[in-house]
């Protein structure tokens, strides 16, 4: 029997090794030398030429791989239904053929596309998510390095980036390679879309002010717990909770300048749990948990139970998103059948200040997003593609991508674009965001400059705009973004961080919930050191140094 099996197995093994031969096209894309594209006669003496429309005299078609945002797919069959792309085709003469993977399968379809060398002409994707890193794709020639093209044909993006050196650093790889047309947020107010929120009406009822320091928070949470702000005669209030499938208790970490991941303060990288402040953070959280200021079930609270806790008037404070939570809950209260809820008010408040009096955040997104539109080696019209993409960053492109079509989705009032009722009060009952997606995409994501104004105009409630402000004003970022590991760095980090992260998450919650006594804390720190955290910190420091030294 064993002989039979081993015979079969060896047959199979041999077969599989040989079966592969000649079946898969080994990708031998020629490595496009960096500057050899157009030894053309275009004189690039005074920078890139301005873009003239139409871009092509004979219409061309470009294939673009781009996941359709769910808010757009509710109202469009493909992006070609969107007014923006129809108008772009009229203005530029370039027709786009879209490949929209289902949202869940975007990564899989992209990886398959790369693996089978069946590339679209342009790809819009979150490039930090690619196995092996995008730098490898560029050096292997699958993604085109665009520096020369930008110099010659992309005046708008070139100007945008040179006017904002920080944006330039974020957009390029460490060696200065420019490869993608990203989404750029034009205001720091947009860099954090979630934050602490509190029931303003409860604060008013109990004559309290919004908490500023950790001690304030302690007092406010206690008041919520004891003084029955929801007025039902029962002590059923939950002073603080959150949706644990999305956020964690680490949101309070920045008040001690820490979190359960890498941090950087003034250019120096550290790992939260190794910092002295982390112990104070954990101790305070444990104290709050013990005194029932934090939801005892916070760890098992998923989206549905989070929602029901907040909407049924049990929660005083939480960390949540703007549209997904603040607007949604407020809207549910206003349109719900329970009249008492109509005056419930949620506001966003800044994070509690650290011991040095400053506000810190770990949730800061980079100005230049990690996703972007790249041009691949399959593209036969690189020059035209660059011009097409660059147009979006110019003055007309910005209007078109953010606001849509003049006269349909917006009108000019006092020289400023104002959204029309077709968007704001759609006759078919579409929400504002969905209605805007009939016209254009900047409000979700895509290559463009995303403007603060469009966010302000599309908020359902004024509290949302105020919240954005509260969450980002004078707030210092401690999380690491926009860093590019080399291949070896990536491998070394991957070796240990999986284990370390599991360990840290487990121990943190055990300490907070009192399942592990705090006098074991020093052992906890020692164990992390044994797991090799110092090497990881050094790697991240190297990455940060390279980033900071970029010109």
């Amino acid at each position: 029997m064993i002989k039979k099996v081993s015979l079969l197995l060896s047959f199979v093994l041999v077969f599989t090794i040989f079966a592969g031969c000649g079946s898969e096209k080994v990708n031998q894309t020629d490595k496009t030398p960096t500057s050899a594209q157009s030894s053309s006669s275009v004189t690039s003496s005074s920078g890139p030429e301005a873009i003239t429309l139409p871009i092509v005299s004979k219409p061309i078609t470009l294939k673009v791989f781009w996941t359709m945002d769910p808010k757009a797919s509710a109202v469009n069959k493909t992006y070609n239904d969107m007014a923006f792309f129809k108008e772009m085709e009229i203005r530029t003469g370039i027709h786009i053929e879209f490949q929209h993977p289902p949202v869940e399968q975007a990564a899989t379809q992209l990886n398959l596309m790369l693996a089978s060398n069946d590339l679209a002409d342009m790809i819009f994707y979150m490039w930090s998510n690619v196995p092996g890193g995008v730098a490898k794709l560029i050096s292997d020639g699958m993604v085109v390095k665009l520096n020369d093209y930008i110099d010659k044909y992309a005046p708008n993006i070139k100007k945008t980036l040179s006017d904002n050196p920080e944006w330039k650093k974020q957009a390029e790889l460490d060696d200065g390679t420019f490869y993608k047309f990203p989404k750029i947020k034009d205001s720091t107010t947009l860099l954090q879309t979630s934050g602490f929120q509190v029931r303003q009406d409860w604060l008013d009822k109990l004559s309290l002010k919004a908490p500023v320091t950790i001690d304030d928070w302690y007092n406010v949470l206690k008041a919520f717990r004891d003084r029955d702000p929801n007025g039902n005669g029962e002590a059923d209030e939950i002073p603080f909770t959150l949706d644990n499938s999305v956020f964690t208790l680490q949101q309070f970490g920045p008040s001690w300048k820490v979190q359960n991941d890498f941090i950087q303060i003034d250019g120096k990288v550290g790992y939260g749990p190794m910092e002295p402040g982390y112990k104070d953070f954990v101790t305070t959280m444990a104290k709050w948990y013990k005194e029932k200021l934090i939801d005892p079930d916070y760890l098992a609270t998923d989206s549905k139970s989070f929602e029901s806790k907040v909407v049924s008037n049990k929660v005083g404070t939480f960390w949540g998103m703007s549209n997904g939570h603040l607007a949604k809950f407020t809207s549910l209260w206003k349109t719900g059948t329970n009249a008492d809820n109509k005056n419930n008010k949620l506001v966003g408040i800044p994070p509690p200040i650290a011991s040095d009096g400053k506000k810190y955040s770990k949730e800061y997104q980079p100005d230049v997003s990690e996703d972007g539109l790249v041009i691949t080696s399959a593209n036969k019209y690189i020059k035209e593609s660059v011009k097409w993409a660059d147009y979006i960053y110019g003055p007309e492109g910005k209007l078109l991508s953010n606001y849509g079509i003049e006269g349909q989705s917006y009108t000019m009032v006092d020289g400023k674009p104002k959204l029309t009722d077709d968007v704001l009060k759609n006759s078919q009952g579409l929400s504002i965001i969905n209605a805007l997606h009939k016209y254009t995409y900047a409000i979700s994501t895509g290559p463009c400059v995303q403007m603060l104004d469009i966010f302000n105009q599309t908020s359902t409630f004024p509290e949302q705009n105020i919240a954005f402000d509260q969450w980002t004003k004078d707030v210092t970022k401690i999380n690491l973004t926009s860093l590019n590991p080399t291949e070896d760095e990536g491998k070394d980090l991957a070796k240990n961080m999986g284990d370390i992260k599991t360990y840290v998450d487990e121990m943190f919650n055990k300490f907070v919930m009192g399942l592990e006594p705090l006098d074991k804390y020093d052992e906890f720190v020692k164990e992390i050191k044994n797991m090799g955290i110092d090497d990881a910190i050094k790697i991240k420091q190297d990455m940060l140094d390279r980033y900071n030294n970029k010109k």
Partner: protein
């Protein structure tokens, strides 16, 4: 023939019925929950937790939202086509394979079985399969949906077991009469295996109805999307669960409520639930009796 039941047998029967009724109640509950939730007013449902015993403020808003999606009716049509074509291919290949492999006279039988079972556990992964489909020019076609999973090895094995338990005497008498394998298969084996065949049609049918993965990888035109894929997209619009979106959590939800999730499930499952009762009548006892006498 009068059968007298003993006291213990009567007690057993009563307890059996009570137990089964109890089981049914706790097992239909999740489904009732889903139906009630889908018919509830979104705001009232949001604040509710715990048992749900009836719709909260009856409202058809969620269903309206689901059917407003232009792709739904198309999704139904596509799924029906994939179901019919797919199940036919499944049943044809599986029954042929199961019967042939049930014949003990085939010397290669065991080797082939080993080879087949091997594939249940080992496979090459998505990349080579994708490249194969691409090279066969099946991308964006119905063949990419139905062929890669044409045979479920588990179903094949179950069916083979069932064929094997049909008494050999029937086969032998037919052979003596001069029938070849195909005739025996069609005229004897299949009619005798109606219960198992009905079960397989059910299993494959449900599988094809619920299928979305192959479609999500191989289809390019949204007009060809099956129902499940469209519905998953609706669920994603509503979900903060990063496992569903695969991306870092961002503030990317429209103001759509939980009840839509439930309306989606009802829309997706009610049609296929109708199938089982229709197939039930084939699970009839006594099919064998006539055959042996003949």
């Amino acid at each position: 023939m009068l059968k007298r039941r003993s006291v213990s047998e009567i007690t057993f029967d009563y307890f059996n019925i009570i137990f089964l009724v109890f089981s049914v109640v706790i097992m239909i509950y999740p489904f009732l929950y889903v139906v009630f939730a889908s018919l509830s007013d979104p705001a009232r449902f949001a604040e509710h937790s715990g048992l749900l015993l009836s719709p909260l403020s009856l409202s058809f808003d969620s269903y309206k939202a689901v059917f407003d999606n232009p792709n739904i009716l198309n999704g139904y049509k596509n799924t029906l086509v994939y179901l019919l074509v797919g199940t036919t291919i499944n049943m044809a290949l599986t029954t042929l394979g199961a019967y042939s492999l049930s014949l003990r006279k085939l010397k290669m039988r065991n080797y082939i079985m080993m080879g087949i079972v091997f594939t249940m556990l080992f496979n090459g992964g998505l990349i080579p399969t994708y490249i194969l489909i691409k090279n066969l020019h099946f991308i964006d076609s119905i063949w990419a949906i139905t062929l890669p999973s044409a045979i479920s090895t588990m179903n094949l094995i179950i069916m083979r077991t069932s064929f094997q338990s049909i008494p050999a005497s029937l086969e032998e008498s037919a052979r003596i009469d001069g029938a070849n394998d195909l005739v025996i298969f069609a005229r004897i084996m299949i009619p005798l295996s109606i219960p198992v065949i009905s079960v397989m049609i059910l299993f494959y049918g449900v599988g094809n109805w619920n299928a979305w993965f192959n479609a999500s990888i191989y289809l390019r035109s949204r007009e060809k999307y099956p129902l499940q894929l469209i519905l998953r997209e609706i669920l994603i619009q509503n979900s903060t669960d990063s496992m569903m979106t695969g991306a870092a959590a961002s503030d990317d939800k429209s103001l759509v409520s939980e009840t839509i999730k439930y309306a989606t499930i009802v829309v997706a499952t009610v049609p296929i639930l109708m199938v089982y009762p229709m197939l039930q009548k084939y699970f009839v006892k006594g099919v064998m009796v006539g055959a042996i006498k003949g």
